[in-house]
């Protein structure tokens, strides 16, 4: 199966530089300090943030004295895939994902603001259709913003692939992942352009790396714009509803 047809369309009808449809919502739960729900195409993710709070359990001993201890947990709902999963969390794959999530988020959170405290981030994949990691990072960022945790900037992730050995594709769906072809996942801080995490499956020649990376970072910037819009709209709505203060249309406190 060709990832890109002669007419320049991908298997699902997107062009190479088009993201999947992103829909998101902040503050979906009341109990957690921050929460967000994010859909990237058919990949649907729920993220919740607890804290910063006093370190509990094992973290009490491990928490550093000068910054916050960030605890991430990635899990996939048993109904998230075509065949029902046996273990929602704790398997190797999930553990790896948790570590990668933490790496990307820690680089964005201003942990030094919260010494001797703990921050819990739980991400649950409700439906998996490729790019799970990206969706999780993006949802977690929204949840952190919702929780009011201090951040340097948004942590945004996006994936990219290479079709026909030359044309980079952005935001890879499950079908494209499983058809073969390399998969480059990048988590970045899009304003400063820093890369927080980069992971690649399958080999391709280093000659192609610059353009694939470029495409992924481009995707990060596009996603950043969407997330930022959501945040502004959310703040505007909640602000208006709760009468915290007057906010103008652009979302700036007067």
């Amino acid at each position: 199966m060709d990832l890109l047809s002669d007419q320049g369309l991908r298997l699902d009808g997107r062009r190479p530089d088009e993201l999947r449809n992103i829909r998101c919502k902040m503050g979906v739960f009341n109990q957690a300090d921050g929460s967000a729900y994010l859909e990237q195409g058919n990949t649907k993710v729920l993220a919740t943030v607890y804290g910063p709070h006093q370190p509990r359990g094992q973290a009490r001993n491990r928490a550093p004295h000068d910054e916050a201890f960030v605890n991430c947990q990635y899990s996939m709902a048993v109904f998230s895939t075509g065949e029902r999963k046996n273990r929602p969390r704790g398997d190797r794959k999930s553990q790896e994902m948790s570590i990668h999530l933490r790496q990307a988020l820690v680089s964005a959170i201003r942990t030094e603001l919260y010494p001797r405290s703990q921050l819990d981030i739980f991400v649950e994949v409700l439906q998996a259709d490729g790019g799970n990691y990206c969706a999780c990072v993006n949802a977690a960022t929204l949840a952190l913003v919702d929780a009011g945790v201090g951040m340097r900037e948004y942590a945004v992730a996006c994936s990219a692939s290479l079709a026909n050995g030359e044309i980079p594709l952005v935001d890879i769906s499950h079908l494209e992942e499983s058809t073969g072809g390399p998969n480059l996942t990048v988590a970045s801080l899009p304003i400063s352009g820093q890369v927080a995490l980069m992971e690649m499956s399958q080999r391709f020649h280093s000659d192609h790396l610059p353009k694939v990376l470029e495409r992924a970072l481009e995707g990060c910037k596009d996603i950043h714009r969407i997330l930022d819009d959501t945040v502004r709209k959310h703040v505007e709505e909640t602000g208006r509803a709760s009468g915290w203060g007057q906010v103008d249309r652009a979302g700036i406190v007067l």
């Binding site: 007419q7 699902d12 009808g13 449809n21 058919n42 050995g165 390399p182 391709f204 020649h205 000659d207």
Partner: protein
């Protein structure tokens, strides 16, 4: 806009999975017509024209055509004609074609990529107005038909506002479909539609086009006739039957001798399963995958010995001939009976296009004709043509469309004419087609990937390559070679060692993975050499110019450089891409002459002498390791420069320089094989030559034994040694004949992906080396291109791509390469045969020959001068009474008459001439001259009334493995 596709799928393990996929609908898919004023498509990308000349008499207005899937699948032969222009191919159709038949898909893509044909692909599935959802209870086919109609309607309404009113100028959309129901529905929806038959008959050059129409839906007159054949089971019944073990699945192989007999190769069965009679064969055609029902043991029969050819005349749709077979059946003894079955269904047809001639018909005005394929395993085919008068003297190609129960013969249609019977070009064409050698011109799309001329070496190129232009490099090849893919150099280093370099044309620089050029080369797999013609794997610009390492021209090369000590031990090996400039392009003869000429002492000659001395050491070492020196009679035709008819035959000569080049090519191949397998243990493309099973050697051992020589076949080394010892002073050709026999015992060498086999299976038996690959001829072999890419990836000179590293993909690629190679070899042999026939057309000649095998009713004679093998029949053809009787002694492998005894390796003199009675199969005829046997042998150089004919390739095929036994794998 967004929608989701949801469907259920069964996985390989039998689980039912629900799959949900996103499906984006767009508003930026353009209609591709120059007429349109609403789409914002770039002007030059628009395909469909504005001013149409409408040649169809059915429609008085200009129109674009929309094709239904069934038209593309069935009528691709007609679509390839230039009469079809301004056609809209919907994505629905394209996908369905891709899914159903990849050859048709490839041909369709070729048409689309040709800008002159004005075929436009409209991605209707992703267009917001033309996407249709499958309704509840609607089959996939019905949905696709509806999608096609919706898209047709959309086009009509989309183009309407952009055009002036007025019926005659208005471009309309015509839907072509052969599905009557679809046509009716289109009519109800107010669309213009018609069947392909009606449309084609309304075109200007209808008669020629009509012949090419497939007759799939063609109904015989007198449809109410009794069906002749039993019904085929439905796919579901077949599947259930196979699962339950009631039915067997296998490949049907028709018999050459008897058109009412065939066998089925079922996996897991020791023997082929016999099928007989019209009902037993039940419309299976050679190569089809069939479902088979095994008969109870009481109904088993023996294969009939009689040769049964289909009657010359068309008997109409009746079945006969069975009576003769019935009689035979009674006679068969119990022991000879074989498992017998009957075909109950066809799982997959393997119909291709067949070459052949029209059978002369009595009725001059009839448009129905019978077609006789050249391949005797294929039944006659009934076709319709209006050009019988012109076609009757030509070789033509015909495709089978269907085989209804009521028809004795399959129905087909005429595809194209090749040329006059007996014409050399026509015959060449036939043999290429019969051996499935792709030889059409390279398509526009393929050629578009060639480098633009003038081609210059840029600084960027030089930066990435080692500059070897100042080194004395030369190439040594056969005379007349224009695709020079290897060059050599050798120079002495300061430390007394030699530096030897093999420089191979860097074809992979020009052929990038995955593009049309690469795909075409992968399909062709090899350049095919015929006696008078070369069928290139890559376009001529590359094969004879840019890649060819011609003398005194700067070329890109992939170099393999060794440092060798004086006794040819490798000190180190380097690989890199380079730029070279060959100082001389020599032939074997020229190179030999320069080496031998003591007066010459320039750099080229020094280099050659160095190479030659090292090569001798290498060869000696290789032979000591047990490499085989085999022989096969190879000949070359000297061809008349104007008519290209063969005028003289000469055996190929082997010079020292031949083996010099060979040694270094072997060395390079082995070095490269080691390197790539080290880096890519899973997906390296290698070549292996399995050791033949001991049973293969039986005829050789027996023949040697009768002459008093022990042939030890324990290992390659033993075999090589015992072959060396078997020399007879009174028969100098004896040893060569033994080696020819040994060659026949060998297995085929094959390409494979290293991940698919265990390491000890990599062994190359013939060369006696543990690992081997092909690296040195990338211009003419695709395997070498893959190896180049792997090696380039090893040294970081180029990038890899997923298919290269996927061992399953490599495996299936190897499959194709092996198949094409085998076919290329057969085609080459067939070409030699053809030229032998041409050579003997006006000649009768006496020649010295040797008995190679003794058979029950014939002697197999080898004629060294022409390198050909023929059968001298001792028993007369059926129906004639033998005047001279021979006694066959199986133990001793001899035939005797009176005091004269023929044994293996005995010299004989035979008379050669061409038997031209059968137009399709000309045969070379052998008659005995010496030793003289009254009433049997013929006087030297004189015509004879007796007819003992033979067909060279037929005998070859039947020769070594006994009939109806599976070859061991």
């Amino acid at each position: 806009m967004l929608t989701t596709k949801t469907f259920l799928k069964k996985t390989k393990r039998g689980n039912i999975l629900k799959i949900v996929r996103e499906h984006y609908l767009r508003d930026d898919i353009w209609c591709g017509s120059v007429l349109c004023k609403t789409c914002s498509m770039k002007e030059r990308e628009k395909t469909l024209e504005k001013d149409l000349d409408h040649s169809s008499s059915l429609f008085s207005f200009p129109h674009y055509l929309v094709l239904d899937t069934n038209i593309v699948l069935d009528q691709i032969d007609v679509l390839e004609e230039n009469s079809f222009e301004n056609v809209i191919i919907l994505q629905t159709v394209l996908e369905e074609v891709k899914h159903r038949s990849s050859p048709v898909y490839r041909r369709l893509k070729d048409i689309i990529s040709n800008p002159d044909r004005k075929f436009y692909v409209f991605v209707n599935e992703h267009h917001k107005d033309t996407y249709v959802e499958r309704k509840a209870g609607e089959s996939v086919n019905d949905r696709n038909d509806r999608a096609i109609r919706v898209a047709t309607a959309w086009y009509a309404s989309h183009l309407a506002p952009s055009q002036p009113k007025g019926k005659n100028k208005h471009v309309s959309i015509v839907l072509l479909t052969d599905d009557a129901a679809n046509r009716q529905k289109a009519k109800d929806e107010g669309l213009i539609s018609c069947s392909v038959h009606d449309y084609v008959s309304s075109l200007e050059n209808a008669p020629a086009l009509l012949d090419k129409l497939s007759k799939r839906n063609f109904v015989l007159e007198g449809n109410s006739k009794e069906p002749l054949f039993p019904l085929h089971l439905s796919p579901k019944e077949i599947q259930d039957g196979i699962k339950a073990g009631k039915l067997l699945q296998g490949t049907f192989l028709a018999s050459r001798e008897n058109f009412l007999e065939g066998s089925v190769n079922v996996e897991g069965y020791e023997k082929f399963i016999l099928v007989q009679g019209h009902a037993g064969l039940n419309r299976a055609v050679d190569g089809d995958t069939v479902a088979l029902e095994l008969l109870p043991e009481s109904e088993w029969v023996a294969p009939s010995d009689i040769v049964l050819e289909d009657a010359e005349e068309d008997p109409g749709d009746i079945l006969d001939d069975e009576a003769k077979m019935e009689k035979e059946k009674q006679k068969a003894k119990k022991v000879e009976r074989e498992p017998t079955g009957k075909v109950v269904g066809i799982i997959r047809r393997k119909w291709r296009q067949y070459c052949g001639i029209l059978q002369p018909s009595q009725d001059k005005n009839s448009i129905r004709h019978l077609f006789m394929p050249a391949e005797r395993k294929i039944s006659k085919i009934r076709i319709e043509t209006r050009q019988a008068e012109t076609l009757k003297s030509q070789r033509i190609i015909v495709a089978i469309d269907s085989w209804p129960r009521t028809s004795r013969y399959p129905l087909g249609h005429f595809v194209r004419a090749l040329g006059n019977i007996g014409d050399k070009n026509t015959e060449n064409e036939v043999l290429l087609l019969e051996h499935d050698v792709p030889h059409s011109k390279f398509s526009e799309q393929v050629l578009s990937f060639l480098p633009k001329l003038p081609w210059v070496i840029t600084d960027a190129d030089l930066e990435r390559r080692v500059d070897l232009r100042n080194i004395t490099i030369c190439s040594v090849d056969p005379p007349g070679c224009t695709d020079i893919d290897d060059a050599l150099h050798c120079r002495e280093l300061e430390n007394g060692n030699y530096e030897v370099g093999v420089h191979i044309a860097d074809v992979s620089h020009f052929i990038r993975p995955g593009n049309a050029l690469d795909k075409e080369a992968a399909l062709r797999a090899t350049t095919v050499y015929l006696v008078d013609k070369r069928i290139d794997m890559v376009p001529e610009l590359l094969s004879s110019n840019l890649c060819s390492l011609r003398g005194n021209e700067e070329r890109f090369a992939f170099s393999c450089i060794w440092e060798l000590t004086k006794d040819a031990t490798i000190v180190n090996t380097k690989f890199h891409k380079s730029v070279i400039c060959s100082k001389a392009a020599l032939t074997y003869g020229e190179a030999q002459a320069r080496i031998d000429d003591k007066t010459l002492n320039d750099d080229v000659v020094k280099s050659l002498r160095g190479l030659n001395s090292l090569a001798k050491i290498l060869k000696k070492r290789r032979i000591e390791n047990g490499a085989l020196v085999l022989a096969s009679p190879e000949i070359r035709f000297q061809v008349d420069s104007e008519t290209h008819d063969p005028i003289e035959v000469v055996a190929k000569k082997m010079l020292e320089t031949n083996s010099m080049v060979e040694e270094f090519m072997l060395l390079a191949n082995i070095s490269v094989a080691q390197k790539i397998v080290e880096e890519f243990p899973e997906c390296a493309m290698l070549r292996r030559h399995p050791q033949p099973p001991p049973t293969n050697f039986e005829p050789l051992v027996k023949a040697g034994h009768l002459q008093g020589f022990e042939i030890n076949v324990e290992s390659g080394k033993d075999l090589a040694e015992s072959l060396d010892k078997a020399v007879k002073s009174d028969n100098p050709y004896f040893n060569t004949m033994l080696r020819i026999m040994a060659t026949r015992c060998m297995m085929q060498a094959v390409y494979f992906a290293s991940g698919m086999l265990q390491k000890d299976e990599f062994f190359h038996y013939g060369l006696a080396c543990p690992i081997y690959t092909h690296f040195t001829s990338p211009i003419r072999r695709y395997a070498d291109i893959i190896v180049h890419r792997l090696l380039a990836a090893c040294i970081g000179a180029d990038s890899t791509y997923p298919e290269l590293l996927d061992k399953r993909k490599s495996h299936s690629l190897c499959h194709n390469l092996n198949y094409r190679n085998r076919m290329a070899q057969y085609a080459g042999r067939a070409s030699v045969n053809l030229h032998t026939h041409l050579f003997f057309r006006n000649r009768v000649q006496d020649e010295q020959g040797y008995v190679l095998y003794v058979r029950k009713n014939a002697l197999q004679i080898l004629i060294p001068k022409y390198g050909l093998e023929g059968t001298l029949y001792l028993a007369p053809p059926k129906g004639q009474i033998a005047k001279v009787n021979f006694t066959y002694n199986e133990e001793e492998q001899s035939q005797s008459h009176g005091s004269i005894k023929f044994r293996v390796f005995d010299p004989v003199t035979v008379q050669l001439s061409l038997d031209r009675r059968n137009v399709q199969h000309e045969k070379l005829m052998l008659l005995l001259v010496k030793p003289e046997i009254p009433e049997f042998s013929v006087p030297s150089q004189a015509g004879s009334q007796q007819v003992e004919a033979m067909d060279v390739d037929e005998v070859k095929d039947v020769a070594p493995p006994p009939k109806r036994q599976k070859k061991s794998k």
